[in-house]
């Protein structure tokens, strides 16, 4: 066969190979592109709906709401519907101010409402939702059971809310599969922003930060959400960014939330920790102090105390930790289940792990999800029970919880047990999820860290 003939015989094969190569490339590119998803919305594109324009307005509205509901209840103190309305107003104020007294009062009112109404009527869904806020899962279950026992057909939004609460309960019980199914049912009834936000949180804690990001972005772009809600969603976006080590994006969304809804302490705290991450620890400390001058919240005190600790400023750190301690104790007294995890967080970072251990154990027994189990494992590790810590963390991993924090905790447990190989593997897992997981500066992330 001549060279020309050989060339002639080869070209169809070369063409076929080229076509296959181009097709494979196109498919791979499409798959890669679809994983990237649409880019984040620009902060300037985000528009608010009507509603409070600042934290002060939100608090004022919450106070007015509570006063109005209280006045209406005074006209007919035995009516469970009015009790439910006041309870809801109180929950809103709790959300605005962080007052556990409001949450406790709402809880008591709903107890009363449930007792005074003939089953299966009554404020069942509100009961379930508020119990969930107070981390009382059994009570939330009972409320839901009563809601689903109603003979009447609830509207789609109510049903979505009920299935969302069922998902939240499953989530806190560490059953990620049931959570996913419940949220999917909620979505079938009403594909609203609350469900999308839950789906985003679930995706993040299952290790799919990209899906979490896309869902939150959809909410940020959504119309008819007020400034307060969008600011909180922006902080959720920042939390997702922290989860994957994208500190730059986290800073953008924290600062957006702070500007979009001025005076919001949590957004300001996110900005403060961003400052610390950027190396301006003194600036972060000043910002935290400014927040606390207006809103003496124990979680912000803890963040400040921890930042000061990392900076080696012992006396100041201890002073803030000591100011936070009685506030946590008071919250724990009012609503022990709701405050337990935060109290454990405080004790582990700034107090005594031995004090944290029994509270962490009880919380993990009630709510055996990843976050509670990681806290318990940390308490176990710091009190000398590395084997217990490892077992606790393996339980969290088996539940489907995926976060860099989980794998870093696993690495610590393996190290304490002398298994350097397993510790290195766990550390690699953590870095795969969050490339900045082991960066020493990551310790400055108090809010929304993984």
């Amino acid at each position: 066969m001549t060279t020309t003939k050989l060339r002639g015989a080869r070209w169809p094969w070369l063409l076929l190979a080229a076509v296959l190569l181009v097709s494979a490339g196109a498919i791979a590119y499409d798959k890669w592109k679809s994983r990237q998803g649409p880019p984040d919305p620009l902060p300037s594109e985000i528009q608010p709906w009507f509603g409070p324009r600042s934290q002060i307005e939100l608090e004022q509205a919450a106070i007015v709401g509570v006063d109005g509901a209280r006045a209406r209840l005074a006209l007919a103190p035995g009516e469970w519907l009015r009790q439910e309305m006041l309870a809801r107003a109180l929950v809103k104020r709790f959300r605005a101010t962080g007052s556990y007294a409001d949450l406790a009062e709402a809880d008591a009112l709903l107890d009363k409402g449930m007792a005074s109404s003939a089953a299966p009527a009554g404020p069942s869904l509100s009961r379930a939702e508020t119990s969930l806020l107070a981390h009382r899962l059994d009570a939330a279950d009972k409320g839901l059971a009563r809601f689903f026992a109603q003979v009447g057909e609830p509207d789609a939004e109510e049903s979505a809310g009920a299935w969302s609460v069922r998902g939240d309960i499953a989530f806190q019980r560490g059953d990620m599969k049931a959570t996913r199914l419940a949220y999917a049912r909620a979505e079938e009834f009403d594909n609203n922003t609350a469900v999308a936000l839950r789906q985003s949180m679930l995706a993040l804690r299952s290790g799919d930060a990209e899906l979490a990001r896309r869902r939150v972005n959809a909410i940020l772009r959504a119309p008819r959400l007020n400034r307060s809600v969008k600011a909180q969603v922006a902080l959720q976006r920042a939390t997702i960014a922290y989860g994957v080590g994208d500190w730059q994006a986290a800073g953008v969304w924290a600062r957006f939330a702070d500007k979009f809804f001025p005076g919001y302490p949590l957004a300001q705290a996110y900005v403060a920790q961003t400052q610390a991450l950027e190396g301006d620890v003194d600036g972060a400390v000043r910002r935290y102090e400014a927040i606390l001058a207006r809103a003496p919240l124990p979680e912000v005190m803890d963040a400040l105390a921890f930042t000061l600790r990392l900076a080696g400023r012992g006396p100041e750190s201890r002073a803030w930790a000591e100011r936070a301690a009685p506030l946590w104790a008071e919250r724990y007294r009012i609503l022990p289940e709701a405050a337990a995890a935060h109290l454990v967080e405080h004790e582990l970072a700034l107090g005594d792990p031995a004090r944290a251990l029994p509270i962490a154990r009880a919380d993990a027994a009630r709510r055996p999800h990843g976050a509670s189990l990681i806290l318990l494992a940390r308490a176990q590790l710091l009190t000398g029970d590395a084997n217990g810590a490892l077992a606790t963390l393996e339980r969290a991993e088996k539940s489907g919880w995926r976060s860099a924090g989980l794998y870093l905790a696993l690495a610590d447990a393996h190290t304490a047990l002398g298994d350097d190989g397993a510790a290195d593997d766990a550390r690699e897992e953590a870095l795969e999820i969050n490339p900045k997981a082991t960066d020493p500066a990551a310790r400055f992330i108090w809010f929304g860290h993984d």
Partner: protein, 392 residues
């Protein structure tokens, strides 16, 4: 798979919730979703204590995060003499090492500094611990309250980083984590005599040279043209086998004398050079020997060059022998074992290479193969040189 029961269709009789304003419900649902940010564990940097056991003494390399030290003690964290003295006194006050019968070990601070090792700065101490008379130098109780006394959520990892006599060669062995609630750990390394020290040192030397490709490449590149005569600035015809063997023996002996000299000086007189120039010097020696394998640079003076570069190679081994014990006998035993380990592997490789070198010198393609091997060695040397000089 766990399934969620599907909803039954019902007729509404009464639902208080349905009467609530739709907007309020949406807001509350969002509140619930947004409140779910969990409380999580925050990590604090931990301390680390690395112990190296040697006959007669234990050395401890202690790293305490500077921020945690300042947080716990309130002491200054700069490198002024009085700050360091206070830091040293504080650490010594908050720690103790004792024999199982309770008698204290002597703790000497060799070095203390606030410095950056990796990440944020640390307080870094090097301690020498000496057992009380008559007590075992391989069994001790480590008591630690540094930082953990004031910060119960801090912990220190206690690690055995070296125990040549006990057979630990380079790998770490974790003893445990020292916490506020568990401030003591007992370490018992068992018994180890001079025999096991010698055997382990031998294994360490053999292991080190077997993995020291740069050392071996230097020697092999130097041996590559040994069976050849020089003519007109090139390697030409083969020598006699007898001449070749004599030259090979001189080169290998000179290299051995060279690296053994610096090794012994390092072990007994504490001779040290920074790692980077030593490692770069070794890469340079490989480069020189590879060029010499291609074109004669110093014909006839290979033993001298092998001896001189051997001094540099010995410095690289010196870091491994820095903790071979306090007593002259134990140190000499360890050095002897280590060096014999090196020489045994080296000799084995030379014995294996000699017939190949002789055959190569007589093969018609021998020159091309030699040039190719020299080029590959030169490339490897250039890569190492760039890497060790921080250029890549």
């Amino acid at each position: 798979m766990k399934s969620i029961p599907r909803r039954q269709t019902r007729q509404r009789v009464s639902s208080g919730s349905a009467t609530i304003d739709r907007l309020i419900r949406t807001a509350l649902a969002l509140v619930l979703a947004l409140l779910s940010g969990p409380a999580l564990a925050h990590l604090t940097p931990n301390s680390e204590i690395r112990l190296a056991f040697a006959p007669g003494a234990v050395t401890a390399d202690v790293v305490v995060p500077q921020g945690e030290f300042a947080y716990a003690t309130g002491l200054a964290t700069d490198n002024r003499p009085d700050s360091l003295a206070k830091a040293s006194a504080r650490v010594l006050a908050d720690m103790a090492v004792a024999a199982p019968d309770g008698r204290p070990w002597k703790i000497t601070v060799n070095r203390i500094a606030f410095e950056t090792i990796a990440g944020p700065p640390d307080l870094h101490l090097t301690l020498t611990l000496t057992a009380p008379p008559g007590a075992s130098d391989r069994k001790l109780l480590w008591r630690w309250h540094v930082v953990t006394r004031e910060a119960p959520n801090h912990f220190a990892l206690l690690v055995i980083d070296g125990d040549l006599a006990g057979g630990l060669k380079g790998e770490r062995e974790l003893v445990g984590a020292l916490t506020a609630t568990r401030p003591e750990l007992l370490i018992d390394r068992g018994h180890a005599g001079l025999g096991s020290l010698f055997a382990n040192a031998f294994r360490l030397g053999a292991h080190h040279i077997a993995q020291g490709y740069d050392h071996l490449l230097f020697l092999l590149a130097l041996l590559l043209p040994a069976p050849l005569l020089v003519g007109g600035g090139r390697w030409t015809t083969p020598r006699t086998s007898r001449d070749t063997l004599k030259r090979l023996a001189w080169i290998v002996t000179a290299f051995t004398i060279g690296h053994s000299t610096t090794l012994i000086l390092a072990a007994f007189l504490g001779l040290r050079l920074p790692t980077q120039p030593v490692e770069a010097g070794i890469a340079f020696s490989v480069l020189v020997s590879s060029i010499h394998a291609a074109r004669p640079l110093f014909p006839g003076r290979e033993p001298l060059v092998a001896g001189l570069f051997g001094l540099v190679h010995g410095l690289a081994f010196a870091t491994l022998v820095s903790n071979f014990g306090l007593g002259a006998t134990t140190r000499a035993t360890a050095i002897l074992g280590f060096n014999l380990g090196i020489e045994t592997v080296q000799l084995g490789i030379v014995v294996f290479a000699v017939p190949l070198l002789l055959a190569l010198a007589r093969w018609k393609h021998g020159a091309s193969v030699r040039l190719a091997l020299a080029a590959l060695t030169g490339l490897a040397a250039l890569f190492w040189l760039a890497q060790r000089l921080g250029l890549s």
